[in-house]
Amino acid sequence: MESQEASINTEMVLILGTSGMLLLTTAIVMFIYLYQRKLIKRKLEYQEIEDLLKKQELQSAYSLIEGQESERKRIAQDIHDSLGSVLVTLNMYADTLSSKLNSGQDKQLTKKISYFAKQATEETRRISHNLDSGMLVHFGLKAGVKDLVDAVMAAKSIIVSFHADLPEAVNQDISINLYRIIQELINNTLKHAHATKINIELIQVNVEYISLIYEDNGIGFDKITKVNGIGLTNIASRTEATGGVLTIDSKKDKGSSFIIEIPLYGKY
């Protein structure tokens, strides 16, 4: 009788103990699984917030660039329409006066006025042109950059070689962004690089993307400290706006090179 009772007790311990252990195991596994799920869900939520913030940041950068573009256009138009026409009128009056005057000294003076008025008109045209890039809008990226290169070559003692192999029509947004990037790069080279040569290549690779290779033989810069400057940030923002990839390579006294690859259809 006693032995039977002991056997039942042992059986109870065995059943309860084993069930308890299995329950405990199940609980541990379930806890780990569910907690891991919760953590992943939270991580994904954070990721979504981060993506949203990045998107917003990008959106504000686009708006800023768009605002800059329209502001440039307005200023260019104002300069061209008001100051440009005033200077043309001034030049016209100076020419008329010069033809009516008999005194040699006065004639010389009016000719000088006419000359400077012409210079001022030319300068106004150049500034307006730089701001609005009308050449770019009307004749495309290749012509626009060519025009810019010619202007730089004429004004500064720097050799700029330019080669382009582009499709007939490049998307307007890509054109404007690439044009502004090249403008910014040339500005940087002229201002800081002390370079004597610039090489610009604009090539369409396959049918997928346009590649811009910009090199100068200037003093170079420290990528770590200078990469956050406004000019380079602007270049990076414009590259990002077009869904492109920017690669910078620069070493002290060994020049700088920028490679920008912009997809023609959709982002990378």
């Binding site: 032995s3 002991a6 056997s7 042992t10 059986e11 311990v13 065995l14 103990g17 084993t18 252990m21 299995l22 405990l24 195991t25 541990i28 596994v29 780990i32 699984y33 907690y35 891991q36 953590l39 992943i40």
Partner: protein, 206 residues
């Protein structure tokens, strides 16, 4: 009456079939851990088949059970050595346990059921499994746990050792009376099903 012993004996057929299919078609997906588990399943299957046959023919199976436990100890030692970062502890505990058990078998007798020793061994393996989960939990680098083969293998081991622990602790009483032994067999069946799920994940990854 359900023959738990037969179900338990035949339960490795499912994971073993998966192993064969994987070896034939996706051998490259067979990593170290999967090899170790495949070895354990094969070892368990052959020992179960022999034990089943011998038990039905009234031949003592203690020496075979002990032999299986030595193999299991070594295989799981390698398994946890590969899996968890406390390698020194795994190595020391496994070596200590191995030499103690060998001493028992050689000096005392191989024809004895070392239930208490198996219980300690189970507790150690449960601890390693829990440590593995803790480590997984801390690292947070596995995104979908259910897709991890190792996760299923460790659950299988955890279920097996948890389910057998009390049978081993009470083995003396069980062997001396007509108390059920089927908890170990159920745990073994569950272990093999969970191993099968793990191997299925390897197949799916392929």
């Amino acid at each position: 009456m359900i023959d738990f012993a037969l179900i338990s004996t035949l339960s490795p057929v499912f994971p073993l079939t998966l192993c064969t299919v994987l070896l034939l078609h996706n051998k490259q997906n067979f990593d170290k851990i999967t090899w170790i588990i495949a070895g354990l399943i094969l070892c368990s299957f052959s020992s179960d088949v022999f034990t089943y046959y011998m038990a039905n023919n009234m031949i003592s199976t203690y020496w075979l059970i002990n032999l299986y436990h030595i193999s299991e100890l070594l295989i799981l030692g390698v398994f946890f050595y590969q899996l968890i970062p406390i390698k020194q502890i795994v190595l020391s505990v496994t070596s200590l346990s191995f030499f103690y058990f060998i001493y028992q078998l050689v000096i005392v007798t191989p024809y004895y059921y070392y239930g208490q020793y198996f219980a300690i061994h189970s507790l150690l393996n449960i601890s390693f499994c829990l440590y593995f989960f803790y480590h997984l939990f801390k690292k947070e680098d596995v995104i979908f746990l259910e897709n991890s083969t190792t996760f299923w293998f460790v659950i299988g081991l955890l279920v097996y050792f948890s389910g057998s622990l009390f049978t081993y602790i009470l083995s003396k009483q069980i062997l001396n009376s007509a108390l059920p032994y089927y908890f170990v067999q159920i745990a073994n069946t569950l272990k093999n099903i969970l191993f099968g799920i793990g191997l299925w994940k390897v197949k799916k990854l392929a």
